[in-house]
């Protein structure tokens, strides 16, 4: 599943970030990289999501959300 398919309240583990290399590095610098556990805190307009990474909150637009592949925490 990707982040766009998640709901507020979900806790998910990032599996893959399907962005260009430079942007993938920036996401990693912000804490969004494979292995990261993120909390989906809000649903924004047009399919965007707000996620909690540690104590930080980041807003992602819908196009970015569909490129961030995640799995529910606890899933294999």
């Amino acid at each position: 599943m990707n982040l766009a398919q998640s709901d507020p309240g979900d806790v998910v583990t990032v599996v893959r970030v399907d962005l260009d290399e430079a942007m993938r590095k920036r996401c990693r610098e912000l804490g969004l990289s494979p292995g990261s556990v993120v909390h989906v805190t809000h649903r924004g307009g047009f399919g965007g999501r707000v996620v909690g990474i540690g104590a930080d909150r980041f807003a992602l637009d819908a196009q970015t959300c569909v490129r961030v592949y995640v799995s529910p925490v606890g899933a294999a």
């Binding site: 920036r26 804490g31 047009f46 540690g54 930080d56 992602l60 970015t64």
Partner: protein, 654 residues
């Protein structure tokens, strides 16, 4: 550059007194966006600061002087950045400043509530090997989020001094001053210690990430505190803050958009209704009382009878114009800074992102564009909230197409004169046309001159809501208004003086200097020379050209200019044009071969699309440089002329 074994930097110079600026050590403030860096800068420097451009760029920096213990230092507030691996011109300026040899010390502002993210930047500063002191901010937010960072533990791990500060209250800044003073004498650089996980990792980026995990594990031993950045994959317990609860409302699509519209409406009101009495007050003060007082003391007859005209109608009018923008700019600066400081601006950017992205703009561009419908000048200044220099420029080139209220008086006059039954509709159409110009302008610019601006995925940090720090905001607004008065003001006063001279010098008839009808002046002659250019648009008269040339200076005076050239009194209410209406109808009918309505519509289009006013151009030049200002003027005139000709040619055949 990678510095496994960076040499210990040499001791730097310090000045003993407040006057030896060149010898003062250069200290730069580096940190992520929204960590209180600029608030710290304002708290440290107070009023001893100015706005400067980073060399060779349009990136604005604030530079000031700070008394660090017993010596003065030059403090530079760098653009906020997440990384020294820059993704925008602003981030590049920050990265370059850290690497520059003339930087004596880096004060790295570390966000205690987002330690992992701040440590990534710290790791990159460590690779550079610059002498560093860490200022630890947001400790209160970190405690709320149950991720407190003990400064001593962090200092032990980083190997550089760590000082907890609260930029809003000033708590800790005395200790920071002493620490910076000591570090300038005996500098320490951050070092990346080899980590057990990656003892021989050759890749700098991987070394930084490994080091961050190592430091986090030492400073915040509980995995739940570290969040996700520890890379362990273990679930952390979500902490729902009151910011989350507010965001549940403000980011909800059903509430977020109306809330943004209310904020935009309030900003618009601020730039118009609230600012109007202040602007009028300054106008009365300068062009009324002061002008009268100056006239009283200057000679009114004899060979110097033109002097009062030059001083009052030229120079003083220019000064009045500049000063009239002061309350407007101050209000908008403060309002936008409040929105930014309290954390709402990032939410506005998220809510507006989809619409702004459609025309290739950053979501944050929505506020400057809305302010532009009130007045273009503060709108340009408000672009400073955009974190990317090219995005600021792109937005700054589109702002002149937002129809400011000064243009409204022209619309009302022309619409009431030529389309008396449909004046309201005509004015509405002008605003729709303005919005379309912004949209189309954005689409075209993104596909031509701005192809280099990346369409980055939106990953936007939402800072916690907080109470804005009023004193630093007031200081910053004051410094920026002063920068406008100094730099843009000189251009405005000089140009208005030149316009006065052109209007005062007679070229035909037997008139004395400064007592010449416009038609007989150098200005009138120039307008006559330009007039044929507008013949294809149906208003190729010297009167229309003179009014448009005056409108280049300020749209407020177009109605007055039309009245002056028609030799009638300026109507107090442009919707009741009286004698001016019949004169205008006659002039436009004559110049358009009987298609006065089509010529009037073409004239309206021209007024909408060409350069709004001198102050806007002066501010564009200050922010973006002369070249881009000229590009904007040329584009505006081209769009205005081509559109006006099209409107007239089509309209006259209907």
């Amino acid at each position: 550059m990678s510095c496994h074994d960076a040499p210990e930097p040499v001791p730097v110079r310090r000045s003993a007194g407040p006057t030896t600026v060149l010898d003062e050590p250069r200290v730069v403030l580096v940190g992520n966006p929204n960590v209180g860096k600029s608030t710290l800068f304002n708290t440290l420097t107070g009023a001893r600061q100015r706005v400067v451009n980073a060399p060779g760029t349009t990136v604005e920096l604030q530079e000031g002087r700070w008394r660090a213990d017993d010596g003065w230092v030059r403090l530079v507030d760098l653009p906020g950045t997440y990384s020294l691996d820059a993704r925008s011109p602003d981030e590049q300026v920050a990265a370059d400043a850290v690497r520059e040899a003339r930087t004596d010390l880096v004060v790295l502002v570390v966000d205690a509530s987002g330690l992992a993210r701040s440590l990534v930047l710290a790791g990159q500063v460590a690779l550079v090997g610059a002498p560093t002191v860490v200022a630890l901010t947001m400790s209160d937010v970190a405690r709320t989020r149950e991720v407190a960072v003990p400064p001593a533990a962090l200092a032990a791990r980083l190997g550089v001094p760590v000082v907890a500060v609260d930029p809003r209250t000033g708590a800790g800044v005395d200790v920071l001053a002493r620490t910076v003073a000591a570090a300038l004498e005996a500098p320490h650089a951050l070092r990346l210690r080899r980590t057990p996980a990656d003892p021989d990792e050759p890749d700098d980026a991987e070394r930084v990430f490994a080091w961050v995990a190592d430091v986090l594990a030492a400073v915040q031993p509980e995995p739940s505190q570290r969040g996700a950045a520890d890379g362990t994959g273990r679930p952390a317990q979500p902490v729902r803050t009151w910011s989350d609860r507010v965001d549940r409302v403000l980011l909800d699509p059903r509430v977020g958009l109306p809330a943004l519209l209310v904020v935009m409406w309030a900003l618009f009101q601020l730039a118009t209704t609230v600012a109007d009495p202040l602007v009028s007050g300054i106008d009365t003060l300068v062009n009324g009382w002061l002008a009268d007082a100056v006239r009283d003391v200057l000679p009114s007859s004899g060979i110097f009878s033109w002097v009062p005209g030059l001083v009052v109608d030229g120079i003083l009018a220019g000064v009045g114009t500049v000063l009239s923008f002061v309350p407007l700019l101050a209000l908008v600066f403060v309002a936008v800074a409040l929105l930014e400081d309290c954390g709402y601006l990032a939410r506005a950017a998220f809510v507006a992102d989809r619409a702004m992205r459609f025309i290739g703009l950053d979501g944050r561009a929505v506020l400057p564009l809305v302010v532009g419908f009130g007045c273009n000048v503060p709108a340009l200044s408000a672009t400073r909230t955009l974190p990317h220099a090219r995005q600021r420029l792109l937005t700054g080139l589109l702002i002149p197409f937002t129809s400011c209220t000064a243009r409204l008086t022209v619309y009302i006059l022309v619409a009431s004169t030529f389309f008396p039954g449909h004046a309201g509709t005509v004015v509405f159409v002008m605003y729709v046309a303005s919005a379309l110009l912004v949209v189309l302008g954005g689409l075209v610019l993104r596909r031509t001159l701005f192809r280099d601006v990346p369409r980055d995925p939106l990953v936007l940090a939402l800072p916690a809501y907080q109470r804005p720090a009023l004193r630093p905001i007031a200081l910053s607004a004051g410094v920026r208004v002063l920068a406008f008065v100094r730099k843009a003001g000189a251009i405005i006063v000089a140009t208005l003086t030149v316009v006065w001279v052109l209007m005062a010098v007679p070229v035909t008839g037997s008139h004395r200097i400064a007592e010449v009808p416009v038609g007989d002046s150098l200005y009138g002659r120039a307008a006559s020379a330009i007039a044929p250019v507008f013949e294809p648009a149906g208003f190729g008269t010297w009167e229309a050209s003179a009014a448009l040339a005056t409108g280049f200076v300020a749209k407020e005076v177009v109605v007055g200019s039309l009245a002056q050239t028609a030799a009638v009194a300026e109507p107090a209410d442009p919707s009741q044009p009286g004698d001016l209406a019949s004169r205008l109808r006659a002039t436009f009918a004559a110049s358009s071969g009987g298609h006065g309505g089509a010529a009037a519509a073409a004239f309206l289009w021209f007024v909408l699309a060409y350069s709004p006013c001198l102050a806007t151009l002066a501010e564009q030049r200050r922010l973006f440089g002369l070249r881009w200002t000229l590009v904007g003027v040329a584009a505006g005139l081209t769009i205005a002329w081509v559109g006006a000709v099209t409107v007239f040619q089509v309209g006259s055949r209907l």
